[in-house]
């Protein structure tokens, strides 16, 4: 070999090792582009070369300084080249391996160990190659280097084999296959249920080689014998048995078994051990010999059942991605069920754009569609022929579509159909039976499809495995109607008020009274649109309908306010926290509602005095104040109200006063319109209104002795 070739090879080797370092530092942020993935996948192929070549080179390196070889030129040169080649190949293999490891599915401890041992091989090989020409290189170093490299090579190779072929691949055929599922009718309680627990969770410490605590759990004789602390259990008495005591000790206890750090027993396993000991810990009993309702049998049965495979496997290939994209539009969504899965789901929306073409256009992906949602689409019977072409369909939603029972026979050829929803489709039982004949079908939704309950019941009986969804059935119990609603937006009016009452339940009869009595369904007036109110009124109303319980009574208050002052001002200001939007808050034709803190109320603990002016004199005969009573929050009715009036601010006379009674502890929360009637109608241009709070809160209240609050949200002038 020319020295330039050798130099090139050495350069490459150096470069490759640097590259490996970079890849290792990059770690998880490494992204292998698609075109490089095949290189990574060649790792399992190429790796055989470094194994053979590097191993041979290292064996030769090991014997390099032997007297018979030291002067053999051929031996020395060959070793040198072989080592170079081996180091090169192992570096390349490592790089490929690092690429491959970034593909999905490669994770876990084995991979990590394999990776680091593999990298060690490459570095060790290169290291030996680098130092073997220096003067400090000795026989010992040569031997040590060779041994380390070969050791790493073997370990890396072994772990790699585990990754590719699975653990215990080599010895698999000769190993005990007890893990294979045993059919329940042959299973023995001890052999197939209890022993596997011991094998997996206990035997690593309690076996013939390693008898911790003098206990061996590998055969029945040893189990019966127990360990150095005595017998393992008292047959039939789990509570007194050492085995269960140890298992049930808190994990923090030193004597808890299995020790912390080892895989713990599951609750089911603990229960199985408990029940086995309780049933006298027999070794020969069959699972099916136990009574059907025995807990041991029931838990054992679930234990023995082979794990069902979770994901469905499809035997068709994926559709063209571009084709899928092309078929997607605003009203037809085609999407893959999962990444890496060829199966597609299709949802169709918008009644007005649906026609059978929407389905026919899907013919290029008819193999791949496994789920089709046509909820509320006007699907006709004829369209079912197109649907039947989706041969791999698993799930079909035809709720509230226009198909009829007769057309459903088209679907009989769908041999994978698992679930079909026909809610709201008119069916008869014969059509349904045809569908049920599809063997794979396990869910059928037929609520609201006009089938009679007896037929459905017998259908369910004949097909116990079918989940027949019949849905809600009116149990005939009457429900209470909701109360009528007031649809008017305002509750304060100037001259007249067209009352608008409604109830969301179709056909409900709305009755009402205006005299404060509770409306009934006979004597009370029936509401019709067009009722006009001309004065402040408390309307009490209820709704009635045959087959329903009458609603609760609700009361709506509407207020007449004939005059709105042209200007208004406070004389004594309200409290800073409750000043609303100034004095105009009380003439804004908007009530404050239940929440006194919402800024629509004005309030004070002192006299609340406002003055109102009119450009033209008005005929005043009553003044109303809407106030709040909320005893818990120290809000009481004003103790007194004074109405003053006159032609201007300086000529006011006291026109009316109102006193409220002493508050009682039981007074409920209320919004109350107080009315001050004037003795005679007066021509007035200016009104002064004074609301006086309760001077001293009564002794039964937590705030006793303090003044009460007055809350006012609106004034009505008539």
């Amino acid at each position: 070999m020319k020295s330039s070739h050798k130099g090139f090879a050495e350069g490459t080797l150096f470069a490759l090792n640097i590259f490996i370092v970079v890849l290792l530092i990059a770690g998880d942020s490494l992204v292998v582009p698609r075109w490089l993935q095949p290189v990574g996948r060649m790792h399992p192929l190429i790796l055989h070369f470094p194994i053979v070549i590097l191993m041979l080179a290292m064996v030769m390196e090991f014997f390099r300084y032997r007297a018979e070889f030291i002067n053999e030129k051929l031996y020395q040169t060959f070793t040198s080249y072989l080592l170079l080649l081996g180091a090169l190949l192992s570096s390349i293999t490592v790089i490929m391996g690092l690429f491959l490891s970034r593909e999905p599915g490669y994770e876990g401890d084995t991979l990590q160990w394999h990776k680091w041992f593999g990298v060690s091989v490459a570095f060790a090989g290169y290291g030996v190659y680098l130092i073997r020409h220096t003067s400090k290189y000795t026989v010992t170093l040569a031997k040590a280097g060779a041994v380390i490299t070969v050791f790493c090579l073997i370990v890396a190779g072994h772990l790699g084999g585990n990754l590719t072929h699975g653990q215990d691949f080599v010895l698999g055929p000769v190993m005990d296959k007890s893990k294979n599922a045993v059919p329940i009718d042959q299973a023995l309680v001890y052999n197939d249920v209890i022993r596997p627990i011991f094998e997996v969770k206990c035997q690593s410490c309690h076996n013939a080689d390693k008898m911790k605590g003098g206990l061996m759990l590998t055969d029945s004789a040893a189990i019966m014998k127990g360990g150095k602390n005595g017998k393992l259990f008292i047959a039939g008495d789990p509570a007194m048995s050492l085995l269960l005591q140890r298992v049930h000790l808190p994990e923090t206890e030193k004597k808890h078994m299995p020790p912390t750090g080892k895989t713990q027993l599951t609750d089911d396993e603990k229960m199985l051990l408990y029940l086995w000991v309780k049933s006298k810990a027999r070794f020969g009993k069959k699972v099916i010999d136990l009574p059907a309702n025995d807990s041991l049998r029931m838990i054992a049965a679930t234990h023995l059942k082979p794990a069902e495979s979770e994901e469905e496997v499809y035997d068709f290939s994926a559709a063209n991605e571009k084709e899928i994209q092309k078929l997607n539009n605003n009203y037809r969504v085609v999407y893959p069920l999962a990444s890496e899965s060829p199966a597609l789901a299709v949802n169709i929306y918008n009644k007005s754009t649906y026609n059978v073409k929407v389905l026919e256009e899907l013919s290029s992906i008819k193999k791949q569609v496994v789920s089709l949602d046509l909820n509320k689409m006007p699907v006709k019977d004829a369209d079912l022929k197109t649907i039947a072409k989706f041969e791999n369909l698993r799930r079909l939603n035809l709720n509230f579509s226009d198909v009829t029972g007769k057309g459903l026979k088209e679907l009989a050829g769908l041999k994978y159909l698992k679930s079909i929803s026909l809610t709201g489709v008119k069916l008869n039982i014969a059509d349904v039976k045809q569908l049920v004949a599809i063997k794979s079908l396990n869910e059928l939704a037929v609520w609201n499809s006009g089938l009679n309950p007896a037929d459905l019941q017998s259908l369910q009986k004949q097909n116990p495995k079918l989940s027949l969804l019949t849905g809600f059935k009116d149990d005939g119990k009457a429900l209470k109607l909701t109360s009528p609603q007031l649809k008017n937006t305002a509750v304060i009016f100037k001259q007249s008020y067209a009352l608008l009452l409604s109830n969301p339940i179709k056909g409900a009869d709305i009755r009402y009274t205006t005299d404060g009595s509770v409306p009934d369904s006979i004597k009370a007036a029936s509401y019709k649109p067009g009722i006009i109110l001309t004065r402040s009124t408390a309307i009490r109303t209820r709704a009635f309908k045959a087959g329903w319980i009458g609603s609760d009574t609700v009361q709506f208050n509407v207020y007449k306010c004939a005059y709105t002052p042209d200007s208004i001002s406070f004389v004594k200001y309200p409290d800073d926290k409750y000043k609303g939007d100034g004095a105009k808050t009380i003439i804004d034709k908007e009530l404050g509602g239940d929440n006194f803190g919402n800024g629509k109320w004005v309030a004070s603990q002192k006299d609340l005095t406002v003055i109102m002016w009119f450009n033209k004199p008005i005929d005043l005969h009553s003044v109303g104040l809407n106030v709040m009573r909320n005893t818990g929050s120290q809000i009481f009715l004003p103790a007194g109200v004074e109405v003053w009036g006159g032609t201007d601010q300086n000529h006011l006379k006291l026109l009316s006063t109102l006193k409220t009674g002493a508050p009682k502890k039981s007074d409920p929360f209320a919004l109350i319109p107080l009315e001050c009637k004037l003795k005679s109608e007066q021509k007035i241009s200016c009104i002064k209104l004074v609301a006086q709070p309760l001077k001293s809160v009564p002794a039964w209240h937590p705030a006793k002795g303090k003044p009460g609050w007055v809350f006012l949200d609106e004034v009505f002038l008539n």
Partner: protein
């Protein structure tokens, strides 16, 4: 032999060294090509492990309806039956049970912690014999369709952080909501409706606020933001055309606007511009899709009887449940309801009865309704609040009047459909209803499980923002295998 050593030394001269060095640098450069983020500083759009819009594995559930009971309903009056508390009524909470639990400012200074049992009785329902309080008779009837989890626990003890934690996986806010993650992860099933919608209702009980940050898209594309449907004339604000503008003109306007936006996009390349165009287009299609969904007048009498007559009054919880079914049926991935008013610090027996009356019938009806349409197996329904309530009374304990403070250590929720085991009760609390004794489920585990049912590996659903990858489950979360069918 000597010759070798000499050659070797001669070989390492300056030229040789430099040429080697260049090879080394070349390798580094080559390697860097495979590490996309090395020099860019900005994350690449496509994550290696996750393609937005496609589940990692075949999903059990395609959609979620989350009935959030805002304010935290008491588990002790709903699904966690503790007769011991009645026996020990008025006695002090043992210090050994409380352990090192920190209390809220509302009861930390309370001199005594008198235990209080449920004012309401419990009954067993269904084949699962689950204990359910008398306040929830309708949910009792669907006991065999639901999975009650009694061992949820959270890190937060106050409403806002706890709620934010439940909705976004972090207590601080600014992260994407769970619905936004699902929208990002699974994409939209129906291009005429948003993938994530929000419905609010309010009971008469003591309430806590809900804010739009709870349905924020955080750092995700704004198309994943939750869209609130309100109960008034305009269910979605600003969706309707202004008066006098016909649909044809609107179309023309949108086309012109799209052209302008496209010009802008070509100049600046901001992806938010494209998002905006998409949203205009979707809004245009929503103008026809939404009125059809909001119209409940065509619902049959059976439906009204199932959900209760309140379901026809917009803005009630029952109406929202009905709406949730209609949205979900139309392919909305995540429907988030909030019902406010569950914060019973005082007056619990009376207030909670009112709240329960609001939600009991409609929640049960929603599950039944989905089931009878064959949709329950692909729709995951979740019912629950943000934490639990203490087993002792806040304030004075009277026979028929008491309150309960916040309790993060254990609380109960239920789930139905979507591949969750029906008719089981998962997890156990001690006889005081204070600590979990079996199978705890942390909020992160809850999130991991929901994503798992949707076909998403919660460790793979990531988004890179400001230099790090984020997950809904942050760095925690285990799928709760015990509740998966």
């Amino acid at each position: 032999m000597e010759k070798y050593f000499l050659e070797n030394r001669l070989n390492i001269n300056r030229r040789r060294f430099l040429s080697r060095l260049s090879l080394g640098i070349g390798s580094v450069a080559l390697g860097s090509l495979l590490i996309p983020d090395l020099f860019s500083g900005k994350g690449d759009e496509a994550e290696a492990d996750f393609i937005p819009g496609i589940p990692n594995f075949a999903p059990k559930a395609k959609r979620v309806i989350y009935l959030f009971q805002d304010g935290a309903p008491s588990q002790l009056e709903s699904f966690d039956y503790k007769p011991k508390l009645r026996e020990m009524m008025g006695q002090e909470l043992p210090a050994s049970v409380r352990g090192n639990q920190i209390l809220t400012g509302m009861t930390a200074k309370q001199a005594s912690f008198p235990l209080v049992g449920s004012f309401y009785d419990f009954k067993q329902y269904g084949e699962s014999r689950a204990w359910i309080s008398d306040m929830f008779p309708h949910i009792g009837k669907i006991a065999d369709d639901i999975c009650i989890i009694k061992s949820l626990n959270t890190d937060a003890i106050n409403h806002d952080p706890a709620l934010t934690f439940f909705q976004t996986g972090a207590q601080q806010g600014n992260r994407p909501s769970m619905g936004s993650w699902v929208s990002y992860g699974l994409g939209s099933e129906n291009k005429n409706l948003p993938a994530f919608t929000v419905l609010l209702s309010k009971g008469k009980g003591n309430g806590q606020g809900v804010y739009s940050k709870l349905w924020s898209n955080g750092f995700l594309d704004s198309i994943h933001q939750g869209v609130q449907f309100s109960s008034g004339e305009d269910p979605i604000l600003y969706l309707n055309d202004p008066e006098g503008l016909n649909r044809h003109e609107r179309r023309k306007m949108l086309d012109k606007l799209a052209e302008l936006n496209d010009m802008n996009y070509k100049e600046f390349g901001d992806p938010e511009i494209n998002t905006k165009v998409q949203q205009y287009e979707m809004a245009y299609r929503m103008q026809t899709a939404v009125p059809e969904i909001m119209d409940v007048s065509k619902e049959s009498d059976d439906i009204v009887k199932m959900y209760g007559p309140e379901c026809l009054i917009p803005g009630t919880y029952a109406a929202n449940c009905l709406l949730a079914r209609k949205l979900s049926e139309n392919g909305v991935r995540f429907v988030q309801l909030y019902h406010q008013g569950w914060d019973q610090h005082s007056n619990l027996p009376q207030e909670m009865a009112g709240q329960a009356k609001d939600v009991d019938q409609a929640s049960a009806a929603l599950v039944t309704d989905l089931k009878q349409r064959g949709l329950l197996d692909e729709t995951l329904v979740i019912w629950g609040g943000e934490f639990g309530r203490t087993n002792y009374s806040q304030g004075k304990l009277e026979k028929a009047n008491y309150g309960r403070d916040h309790h993060p250590r254990c609380f109960s929720i239920w789930m139905a459909g979507g591949g969750i085991k029906p008719g089981i009760v998962y997890g156990e609390t001690d006889e005081f209803g204070y600590n979990i004794v079996k199978d705890p489920v942390h909020v992160h585990d809850f999130h991991a499980t929901i994503l798992n049912q949707l076909g998403i590996d919660h460790k793979k659903l990531t988004y890179k923002s400001q230099g790090r990858r984020y997950r809904l489950t942050d760095v925690a979360g285990n799928v709760v295998k015990g509740i998966i069918a």
